[in-house]
């Protein structure tokens, strides 16, 4: 008989506890899955799953509540920061975060996000910017790049009549209530790792009661950009990053 080595198993990669096993409805190449995973990993690492509360937006990620194993609500379009404020104010010991797209946050919900930041509301915002309205079929968003063709700017965004991109990190970092404001991108593994660190830091900001925190994630929407997923990632790097520079816009240490 040949002696058999006892089989030992070491888990090196698994689904975060804060993430559910439900398959997502997102398109192939969509970055929401990656963004969700980063958030779930951050929640697990910080050990806050049982007191985390998600406020999902209107848009593709309206279904985000299906993909996290945490208490969740869905807000009206743009109103997630107001709803999160209500949730957080009555239970300040919970970790409340919104997950919003660029149409939701930078257009219809601009008043709510500005005032949540202005009040220094102790919330975390995960802001996914893919420069278009995804769920309604790729219309122009406030974040659409100059010249970019969308289904509602078929000749390209003409800044003379359609305005310029709204730069939310730059805008919010001006407010005294904002404690941590950072922009990251999801276009390659190195940037994804940096995004994860920023998300962890944003949650830490809230855990320590330092005030409003937001991480903007540049993401692709291959379906509505009419690109192959890999080309779309390249396009983030070549076209979006120059308009939306990555980095920390606000980092306030004290509460």
């Amino acid at each position: 008989m040949i002696p058999v080595e006892p089989f030992t198993e070491q888990v090196v990669f698994q689904r975060p506890r804060a993430m559910s096993a439900t398959p997502t409805t997102y398109c192939p190449g969509c970055m929401h899955g990656v963004a969700h995973r980063l958030v779930a990993e951050a929640i697990d690492e910080l050990g806050i799953r049982e007191r985390a509360i998600l406020v999902a937006p209107v848009g593709c990620s309206v279904f985000a509540y299906n993909y996290f194993e945490i208490d969740s609500v869905v807000a009206a379009h743009g109103r997630a920061p107001a709803m999160a404020t209500g949730i957080k104010r009555v239970q300040p010991d919970k970790i409340v975060f919104t997950y919003q797209g660029d149409g939701d946050l930078a257009s219809i919900g601009i008043a709510e996000i500005l005032h949540a930041a202005g009040r220094g509301e102790n919330l975390t915002v995960i802001f996914v910017n893919n420069a278009v309205y995804g769920m309604t079929g790729g219309q122009m968003a406030p974040t659409t790049l100059p010249g970019m063709k969308t289904t509602s700017s078929p000749l390209g965004r003409d800044t003379r009549t359609m305005g310029h991109p709204m730069k939310m990190c730059e805008l919010l970092s001006q407010l005294d209530g904002a404690a941590f404001i950072a922009r990251r991108s999801l276009h390659n593994p190195a940037e994804i790792r940096k995004a994860k660190k920023a998300i962890v830091e944003a949650f830490k900001t809230q855990i320590e009661g330092r005030g409003f925190s937001m991480v903007e994630l540049l993401a692709s929407c291959p379906t509505n950009w009419d690109m192959k997923p890999v080309d779309a990632l390249k396009w983030i790097e070549t076209h979006m990053v120059p308009i939306y520079p990555l980095g920390d816009y606000k980092r306030r240490v004290e509460g």
Binding site: R51, D71, T85, I87, R89, A111
Partner: protein, 394 residues
């Protein structure tokens, strides 16, 4: 407990606090601002949440959030601000969470003015937002009643997990009257099991305002309709003056004024004046505008000569009175708009007009009250062409 003199808006705020409101979110607007100001002082004193929101849109969504967390939450506003809250109210209805809203109505449309009005009847009673649902709407006529109905609003909102609205006009909001306040209630020790409180030691809770599949959304709608039906069966409330159900006497009240809130108060003076002139008129004052006391009005209509609806609008509750009366008796209307209140003399004149109009020259015991009813039309013969006749055509 001793009575104290209080302004309507402040009395409602104190009543809400005693009923156990844990979070108030609001935005200044005349004529309800004293309610917000009162809350800004009292809520922090008690360690409860007060927040002045950036808009009514934000305020209602903050209320929505706090309610999802299972806490007693409320806001207050006035007509234009309530218009801005319609979206949030619809989401709240879809999510089956309890909230209390106070609407101190002012003149409309548009910016209107800051004078008292009842022109939000449609926007509150007939849904308050898109979709199929109905909130509970309570209409006080005195500051004391505003206090009592505010407490009831919290009870009903929680019992049915629904929106409960206290609907009053600027007169009641601004008026001072002696009130007896309810005792201070203890706050609930723990939020309800469905609340969004973090998934600690249990499966996750989810509160969402949508169902993507038609089957699921219809099921949600049916659930809402069942709830609305239960509320309609159990919760209709009204107050009546000079109306009795005693069929024995020959001088039974058979003319009815229907009016709510401040208009109901003014109408009561007119009813008293008309009765002194020998007119057998009474006042029916709905306290719940939703559910509407339609069964009671329908019963009154059985033997009624006529109805007069008095409102501080162009005739909004009038439609519900007509539906309840179901063509059994004529329904007349007297209304003032733009922040004007109806005057007792004008209402009394309308009562006299209705009395004259509906007085029959012959003994109605022979002809019977059916003379006024559309049911007295001859039955159609099968296959014959329906004959169109104007009401009253012999």
């Amino acid at each position: 407990m001793a009575k104290q003199l209080m302004k309507g808006n402040e009395a409602i705020a104190e009543a809400a606090i005693r009923a156990g409101v844990e979070a108030y979110f609001g935005y200044p607007i005349t004529p309800q601002t004293e309610l917000l100001e009162y809350m800004s002082k009292r809520m922090p004193e008690l360690g409860r949440v007060f927040l002045q929101a950036e808009s009514e849109v934000a305020a209602i969504n903050m209320v929505y959030g706090a309610a999802c967390a299972g806490r007693r939450a409320m806001t207050s506003s006035s007509s234009p601000g309530i218009s801005l809250m319609q979206e949030g109210l619809s989401y709240i209805a879809a999510s089956n969470v309890p909230v209390v809203i106070v609407d101190v109505m002012r003149g409309g449309p548009g910016l209107g003015n800051i004078a008292p009005s009842q022109s939000d009847y449609f926007q509150m009673v007939k849904m308050a937002g898109h979709g199929d649902y109905k909130p509970i709407v309570l209409a006080p006529a005195t500051v004391q009643e505003a206090v009592d109905l505010t407490v009831l609003a919290f009870d009903l909102a929680e019992r049915y997990r629904t929106i409960a609205i206290v609907l009053l006009d600027g007169v009641l909001g601004q008026m001072m009257e002696p009130v007896e306040l309810p005792p201070m209630r203890p706050l609930p020790a723990t939020p309800p099991a469905w609340a969004i409180t973090g998934a600690a030691g249990r499966a996750k809770n989810v509160v969402i305002p949508f169902r993507m599949q038609a089957d699921d959304l219809e099921a949600l709608n049916l659930e809402l309709q069942r709830k609305i039906g239960a509320i309609a069966r159990r919760e209709a409330r009204f107050k009546e003056y000079f109306i009795d159900d005693d069929d024995a006497g020959g001088d039974k009240t058979d003319l009815f004024v229907v009016a709510f809130g401040t208009a109901g108060r003014v109408a009561l003076s007119a009813v008293k004046a008309a009765r002194q002139k020998g007119i057998r008129v009474g006042l029916h004052r709905p306290i719940t505008l939703s559910p509407f006391p339609d069964e009671r009005l329908s019963r009154l209509a059985d033997d009624a000569r006529g109805f007069l609806v008095v409102e501080m609008n162009a005739g909004q509750m009038l439609e519900d009175v007509k539906l309840s009366v179901g063509g059994q008796a004529p329904v007349r209307f007297h209304g003032r708009m733009g922040g004007q209140a109806p005057m007792p003399d004008d209402i009394a004149r309308e009562i006299e007009k209705l009395d004259e109009m509906t007085r029959r020259p012959i003994d109605h015991k022979i002809e019977g009250p059916v003379a006024l009813r559309p049911a007295s039309r001859p039955a159609q013969q099968a296959g014959s062409k329906p004959e169109l006749t104007a009401p009253g055509t012999p």
